[in-house]
Symmetry: C2
Subunit: 180 residues, 2 copies
DNA sequence: ATGACATATGTCAATTATGACATAACAAGG
DNA sequence: CCTTGTTATGTCATAATTGACATATGTCAT
């Protein structure tokens, strides 16, 4: 059982979902392609941690809706108690910045503009998620309690926003550095 | 040629370094073990992008000091102009937070305290790097110019600090949420 | 002295992750 | 009508990454 498998169980602990949906929703925390997800779901099903029902759709292709089993919940709870690996970030842009002096200022500036716009797009999507959480929640977000199912959504979007703000802030700071 | 290979060239564009040193210094941008670095260096040498000299040491094991060649510099410059992959972060802790409601508040709080202390340690190390850059630089850091070899060190430490501050800020905010 | 740790390089099996291929049904736009 | 995009599931070869094993020297603490 690798981390991604536990991640899938984690998502399934809130809602039953298809492999396709799991693939989409796990991206912010643990990027993975469907070609990695589907085999892991089959494994989890064999272990009895998840189960699925075929759902026939007329407008779209049929799907398998997965749910967490009792055994899956138990496995998930044990995993939470285990030591947590530190986050891993691999950033090609930072590697390029390390030797940015090799190109001229104009090229460097255009790279930064592009990266800033990438982060702006990300921020926009996070703001949309934030609004979505706000709409779905009955209470004002600040009053959400620990055990409320919306609590995690709220705090994780907050986390994502803080990080993307830091990235954007650095980009803008760099741009002002390069313009002078 | 994968991203890590170009990353190694990037580091070598500033200083000649051993595989061991490259492994240590590339961690913040692109975590990798020595077992991945050494074979890539051999590949890069075969391609003529780097060269090395054996250095015999009496106090420590002998080492190979790698340098960037002209061909390596050319390859590096071409890579900088190519489109840059977005950063990838995999965060087990975030996956656990998603289903944090499964455990009690006390356990959640202790997980956050631990994660906060992890980030504090990271921040301390970044602050040391910052001080080191400050000492090595002749000019005040804010006055460092684009082509100064210290410029990249300065802006990358700044980047790391901003991100770790965001992480720490979120941890403390979460702690206050859980205590109430 | 004995074990642990840092330096230093290397190989190799196993795991993790990606990209390509494959199929299929419907929607939307040109 | 045709291409492109989304939904939906799956396999497989390849690539990237890790963890274990291997070796050697020196230091430092117990």
């Amino acid at each position: 059982m690798n981390t991604l498998s536990y991640g899938l169980l984690s998502l399934l602990s809130k809602d039953s979902r298809t492999g396709y949906e799991l693939m989409q929703h796990i991206q912010p925390f643990w990027p993975a392609k469907h070609s990695q997800i589907y085999p892991l779901l089959a494994q989890l099903e064999q272990k009895g941690y998840v189960e699925f029902v075929h759902v026939i759709q007329s407008d779209k292709p049929d799907k398998k809706v997965y749910s967490l089993t009792e055994a899956g919940l138990k496995a998930l709870q044990e995993w939470i108690g285990l030591p947590t690996d530190p986050p891993v970030t691999r950033d090609e842009f930072a590697l390029k910045i390390y030797c940015i002096g090799l190109v001229n200022k104009e090229e460097a500036l255009s790279m930064l503009v592009e990266r800033a716009s990438y982060y702006k797009g990300k921020k926009e999507r996070f703001m949309e998620s934030f609004e979505k959480v706000k709409r779905q929640s009955e209470k004002p977000l600040e009053e959400l309690e620990f055990h409320d199912p919306m609590f995690a959504n709220y705090v994780l979007v907050k986390k994502a926003m803080l990080k993307v703000d830091a990235d954007l802030h650095w980009c803008e700071w760099m741009r002002s550095k390069l313009k002078s």
